[in-house]
Subunit: 249 residues, 2 copies
Amino acid sequence: MQSDNHRQHISGQFNAELEAVRNHLLEMGGRVEAAVARAVETLLTRDSGEAEAVIAADEEVNAMEVRIDEECSRILARRQPAASDLRLVIAVAKVTTDLERVGDEATKIARQAITLSEQAPARSGSPEVRRIGKHVGAMLRSALDAFARQDVAMAVNVVVDDEGVDSEYHSAMRSLVTFMMEDPRNIGPILNELWALRALERIGDHAANIAEQVIYLARGLDVRHMEPAELLAYMQAEAEEPSPGNVTP
Amino acid sequence: MQSDNHRQHISGQFNAELEAVRNHLLEMGGRVEAAVARAVETLLTRDSGEAEAVIAADEEVNAMEVRIDEECSRILARRQPAASDLRLVIAVAKVTTDLERVGDEATKIARQAITLSEQAPARSGSPEVRRIGKHVGAMLRSALDAFARQDVAMAVNVVVDDEGVDSEYHSAMRSLVTFMMEDPRNIGPILNELWALRALERIGDHAANIAEQVIYLARGLDVRHMEPAELLAYMQAEAEEPSPGNVTP
């Protein structure tokens, strides 16, 4: 038989472990966020030394993913969490995969920066890269903030925002294709920018995935395959219900 | 206190649940495999009706992902699995994410087929699409077979094979860029093929991710960030050890 003291001790340890894995995830998120910002910067400055540093730093992000997954497995095996604790562990395991892939996309952007730095300075797509880079950087930050605070309304905004990134991306694509057609000598460097833009667009998708996990975590609701309009309608209906689970805008 | 009968009954149910979630995953895998093959075919035939059907069929794949994740959560909450059972549930949850994304890539390929079907028939990149499509299709099948049989040697081959896809992809890219430069009127349609090729290359990455989960499942070893050469050396060392965990080639 366990004494009350002993039980409290165990539950204190358990909470500390949950808190730790959550913090490790947010730490990984901070690293990845910085990697994206640095990668976008190298694309604008074509600083290949800095781009190499971004690529090298991704090793640590990969190691963090492995450690966080191990923590999740250990908690599942030893603590057998239930209800919201279990949802937290599952959400952490899903988010860590998305963060690792964001890290990969940042290295892809840095690689394009290296290739571009070796080419003759051609017409630069910097305005598109700068704008979309800023946009997805903000989405990623919001998704991580929403995770930290379990802020559902903020998470919903991130999911909806991803549609904006997609349309910015398609319009940037169209103007870059026009530049290619105008002067075929631009094809090489512009393709490098297109790949970088596509990586940014993927980062937006991953930010939206992270936000969806926040909604799962806070509401137990899997919204991954809802259309943004459907999700907004759902949140609207929830906000109108006079329940304690209210989301204030 | 539970009787032996009761305990056996519970453990029988538990095994049935594990078997069920594993089968549902393999069923989802079969669907996704078929979607990739169909999508590649539409790119070659430019059959936009069939491409629309591929896109519509992805809804069911998405629904399967949600159901399988629910099954995993339920097993974790009710059965509190340990050791290899826990690894199975974690691996299933990771693989389902990869399969869902392969489904997304298949719809992207089908979308390119629709765009191409609307354009004037230009120079076709079919040989590259056909070859790489066949290659990643075979990788995906092997990854799923390796999962079904927990065949580590087969899984290692898939991981190593992904390097081959990457180099085929880069060489295809180079020749398509040359075609673009030769005649700027080709830029539009060739870009569509490039996007489709990139989707195929991502499918290869996901197949490799699935294979890595097979190794985790069978060996409890996280090989996600090992270089293929490192992984081969590890497997070689393991094969030379006269242990019951031998991998025969």
